[in-house]
Symmetry: C2
Subunit: 231 residues, 2 copies
DNA sequence: TCAAAAGTGTTTAATATACACCCATGC
DNA sequence: GCATGGGTGTATATTAAACACTTTTGA
């Protein structure tokens, strides 16, 4: 390479055709929360190499499609949800990560309220799995999953993303259980309440839980301006 | 779309050819530090649409090349440096972000010691720019730059990445100046020293600065195990 | 009346901030 | 001797952590 003649996509007109043997995809780590447990939505893989293994939800990005749009499309197609929380995390591009050819994949994580989801595939092909039970996944999806989960754990301590896992009305107990499930630790109830309240994100609805087999707790919702700051 | 027949890159054998009209690239935001100032390495763009504008250093990713490897290759080609600190930040994939066609680009930031760099292009085409003077860049590079700079600002408070901007031997003053330049704030000298020392990352070399027009400060280096934790 | 969780404050420890003087060197 | 930055400690404020009892409801 001579000193001043590196031809380059950013500096010179370059013919792209030689580089077109690459496809791009998105993979979504979709988290949900149910029965005190953090779960992730997985689909059964049908490729010979990974027959029967579970994989993340993803798809190829269309020729004219934005990455974020593609991730939204996947989520909409699989859960029926719009206006979900999506966060780009990392891009995985090892040359042989996918058996079909060179596929560079951008990973997103998403937080959804499980009970709002209308899954669009038969139950045995698309399924919520407890996060703590995830051992192996198809492709490099275990690595993608781990990376996204670590990011989620870091994000919840400084941002109110976690509310997206709960229904609009929730009790402080539910909110604490979500934090405990994600961080994998037990939290002191009094200190947790103090901290959450000091953030001034919650609006007291002056309503109580019902259908709980114990003393009902107050219900709260995220303040509208905090909701707006999320998307 | 019928309920259970979404054909998908993760679940079925899919023909990729229709998706191959995409190229992938890496773009590197290379930070350096000189004369109390944070700088970024930019190259002059020669494409008609952005003639004369400055752009980040980047290149197309080869058909068999890993993303991280491609970023290292770009850095090596432009600065002559190996073993630099590289951090993947975000992937930008808007359909018309590059005039040559669909190019999805993964952004990295890198921290280098300016005085170790042997720039491989004529001085007027490849140049260190003060970060505070960056207004516009070619393509969507201003957005990429801003994203990487914000990540750097967040990263330095919890990780010793910043040492990569300094020579192996440095004084606490130099280290403080780097922090101040990145964060854009003035820091209290006594509190800064206390905080750095409490991290137990530094090894006192029992040497003094020379060539400074004032009382020389002690020289330190990053402890070897902290260096290892960086890469 | 029992089980389960709601609700509620104080004390202590750790961390972060604010702030001022004398010292060593080069010019 | 003057300009520049080196080197140092303490007091205060803020934040985080530990910890226990009474109350309410459903079964």
């Amino acid at each position: 390479m001579s000193k001043s003649t590196i031809k380059n996509i950013n500096t010179h007109a370059v013919e792209l055709n030689a580089y077109f043997g690459v496809a791009i995809s998105v993979d979504c780590v979709i988290f949900g929360f149910d029965k005190r447990e953090l779960k992730v939505l997985l689909i059964r893989c049908d490729l010979p190499k990974y027959k029967g293994k579970w994989s993340l939800l993803g798809d190829l990005v269309g020729p004219e499609e934005d990455l974020d749009k593609a991730a939204y499309r996947v989520l909409k197609a699989r859960t029926g949800l719009r206006n979900v929380y999506l966060q780009q995390v990392h891009t995985f591009g090892a040359p042989r990560r996918h058996p079909a050819g060179r596929v560079v994949s951008t990973a997103y994580y998403s937080l959804v309220n499980i009970s709002n989801c209308k899954l669009t595939t038969q139950a045995n092909e698309l399924h919520w799995h407890p996060v703590k039970d995830i051992r192996t996944l198809a492709f490099d999806h275990k690595k993608i999953f781990d990376t996204c989960f670590e990011h989620l754990q870091e994000d919840i301590v400084r941002s109110p993303v976690v509310f997206k896992l709960l229904p609009q009305k929730f009790s402080l107990r539910q909110l604490q259980h979500v934090h405990e499930a994600i961080l994998g630790v037990a939290l002191d109830r009094r200190n947790f309440r103090k901290k959450i309240m000091s953030m001034e994100l919650l609006e007291d609805l002056n309503e109580m839980e019902n259908d709980v087999p114990h003393r009902p707790g107050r219900l709260y919702r995220l303040k509208p301006k905090a909701v707006a700051a999320l998307s």
